[in-house]
Amino acid sequence: MLLTDVLRFSYKALTEKKLRAVLTIIGISIGPLALVMIYGVTSGYSNYILQQIKGLGQNLIAVMPRQGYRFTEKDLDTLSTISGVLDATPFYSTQGEARIGSSMQTVFIYAVRYDFIFKAIPSLKIMEGEIPAETDIVKCIIGHDIAFDENGNQVYHVGDAISVTIYKILGPGRIQARRVVFLVSAILSKYGGAALLNPDMTIFISIGAAERLVGMKDWSGILLYVVNPSVIGSVTDKIRELYGNSVSITSFYAIAQIASSITGAVNFMTFAASMAAFAVAVAGVAATMITSVIERTREIGVLKALGFTDGQVLTLILSEGVVMSLIGGGIGVAVGSIGAYMLAEHGLTIHAGATEIIVKAPPNLTPELLTVTIILTILVGLLGSLFPAYRAAKIPPAVALRYD
C-alpha cells in the first residue's frame, strides 16, 4: 500500500465525521500548545536570568561586612593573599537621583577600580568615550539608560555634566542630601540585565570620588577576582574560616549554579505539567478511534474481503490517529509559539523591596523543543489509536461483514 493512499484514506476518514475530528484535534493541540507556550516562556526567562548572572562575572566574589564589622586595608591585604585570588579591590555602593530626560530617576552608584570591574565583568562594554583615569575623580562612566531616555533620545553625551543627589541616612528621621556633579567620560553599551546588578542605570565612579566628593568612609565591601570559577568554593571556605559570620559572601558563580538548578526544576515541572495534557489527549484519541472502528466494523470486513491484510488495516487506523495528531500538533505549536511571544512581551516582574525589575526575554523556542513536541504529539496519536487499530486488524472478516 502506497503512503499517499494511506494519507488519503486517513484524511477521508477524518473528514467523514468532521465535528468529532475537529474536537479531537483541539484536544490534541492543547498538549503541544501548553508545552511550547509555557515551557518556551519559562525556559526563555530561565536562560535570560542565567545569562545575566553569568555575565556578571563568574570569577567574581563580593565580600561584604555584616553589621558591626568594618573593612580596613588589612582585610584587603588578607583577602588578596588567599590562594586563588588574583586581584582584590574595595568598593562603595549607594543610590541617588538624577534627571534623565524629563524625570528624576533612581540611579545606582558604584565606586570601584575601573580596570577591575571591566576585567571581572567582561560583558560591560564602552559605547562612547573612554575610561577615565582613577585619579580623575570628577569623571564618571554612566549606564546606557542614564544617557538615553525612555524614548531613546540621548540626554547625556561625553563631556556633559551630570548632577546626582545622594541621600544619606544619618539617624532616625535625619536624612542628609548631597548634590554631586560628575563629568561624563564614557557611556556604556546597553547591557540589558536587570538581575542583581543593573549597569544600565549605574554611574561608575572612582574610589577617590566616592571618598572625597560623596564623602563615603566605610567600604561597602571588597571584590575578589579569582583565577577560575573552580576555586570559588575553596576561597569562600577560607574567607569563612577567617571571618566567620562577620562577613557575607556573594559569588555570582554559586548564584548561577543555584539559579541553574532552580530553573532546571522549574523547567522540569513545566514539562511534567504539560505531559498531563498529552495524557488526556491520548485518552481523547483512543475514544475517537475506538468509536470510529466500531462504526466501521463492516467496512473493515469489506477491506479484508478485498485483500487488505491485518497489517494494512492496522496501518490505516494508526495513520488516522497520527494524521489527527500531526494536525493538532501543528496547530498547538503555531498557537503556542504566538502565545509564547505574547506572554513574553508582558515580561516577568520581580519585586525586590522597593525595587521592581521587569525581565523581558524572548521565549526559548528551540528546534529541540519543537521536535520533542512534535514527536510527543505523534506518540499521542500512535498510543491513542494502537488498541483500536489492533482490534480492527484482528476482527475476522466474516464476523466484520455480518456486523450491523
Partner: protein, 239 residues
C-alpha cells in the same frame, strides 16, 4: 477439466457458551474453471457460510478448502488476504461500497492493496466499470448519488478490477428491483462467457436458472443438484 475450487468434507461449527450450532455439516464440492454456479437454499441453510469458506473469509472447523490446488487450511492470515486479493472477487447483497469514497476510489481498492500507482489504476478502473455496465461519468460521484442497480454495478466493477479468477456473489440481486436485477445477471453471464468462474448464492430461482449448475443446500449439507431451466432465467422473463 481444471479444478479451481475444491471443498473436502468442510464443516463449520459456531459456539455460544456450551451450545454448538452447525453452519456446515460436511460439504464436498468441486468447482471447475469457467463454471457458472448458483447455490440455493432456505434461510439458515448455510449458503453464506459456504460462500465465506470458498472466499477464505472464514476457516472451517473441519475439512479442507483448496483454491487452485492450494490447501488454504495451513495458510497465515497474510497469505489468505493475498489469495483473496489475487484470486477472488466479492459482490454483496448490500453492495458494501464505502460511502465517503468516490466510485473511482471504491473500485480501485483491490489495486491499492497491490501498491499499484494511481495513474496505472485509473485505466483498469475504467475498463472494469465499463465491463460491469457502468458509465465513466459515475467515477467522481459518491455511491449515495447512484441508484441501487448502479451501485451494484460499481460493486461488480470493484470485484473484477483486479482480474480475479473467481467471482463470488452473495444475494447480488436481493436489494434490487427486477430490471436492475436482470442487468446485474446479464453482466455476470457476460463475464462468465468471457471465462470468469462465478458462484452466486441466491434465493431467486430466476437468477439461479441463468447459471449452468444449481446446488441445493439444506441444514449445512448439499442435498442435490438441479438442472437450470434457461427459459425461466431473469434475462428472459423480465422484459
Amino acid at each position: 477439466m481444471d479444478k479451481i475450487i475444491e471443498l473436502i468434507n468442510v464443516k463449520k461449527a459456531y459456539r455460544t457458551g456450551n451450545i454448538v450450532t452447525w453452519g456446515l455439516r460436511g460439504v464436498d464440492l468441486v468447482v471447475y474453471r469457467r463454471d457458472y454456479i448458483s447455490v440455493m437454499g432456505p434461510s439458515g441453510s448455510g449458503k453464506s457460510t459456504l460462500l465465506n469458506m470458498i472466499g477464505l473469509l472464514d476457516v472451517p472447523s473441519e475439512g479442507k478448502v483448496l483454491i487452485d490446488g492450494i490447501d488454504t487450511s495451513k495458510l497465515s492470515s497474510k497469505k489468505l488476504a493475498y489469495l483473496r486479493n489475487r484470486k477472488i472477487g466479492f459482490v454483496f447483497q448490500q453492495f458494501n461500497l464505502i460511502s465517503r469514497f468516490t466510485v473511482l476510489e471504491n473500485i480501485e481498492l483491490p489495486l491499492v492493496v497491490r501498491s499499484i500507482p494511481r495513474r496505472k489504476r485509473i485505466p483498469k478502473v475504467k475498463e472494469a466499470l465499463k465491463m460491469a455496465g457502468g458509465e465513466e461519468s459515475w467515477l467522481p460521484k459518491k455511491p449515495t448519488q447512484l441508484s441501487g442497480g448502479q451501485q451494484q454495478r460499481v460493486a461488480i466493477a470493484r470485484a473484477i478490477v483486479g482480474d480475479p479468477e473467481i467471482l463470488l456473489a452473495d444475494e447480488p440481486t436481493g436489494n434490487l428491483d427486477r430490471k436492475s436485477a436482470k442487468t446485474v445477471i446479464e453482466t455476470f453471464t457476460e463475464l462468465n462467457r468471457r471465462g470468469q468462474t462465478i458462484i452466486i448464492v441466491t434465493h431467486d430461482p430466476e437468477v439461479a436458472n441463468c447459471t449452468n449448475k444449481i446446488y441445493l443446500l439444506r441444514d449445512g449439507v448439499i442435498i442435490g443438484r438441479e438442472e437450470p431451466e434457461p427459459d425461466k432465467c431473469i434475462i428472459r422473463t423480465v422484459k
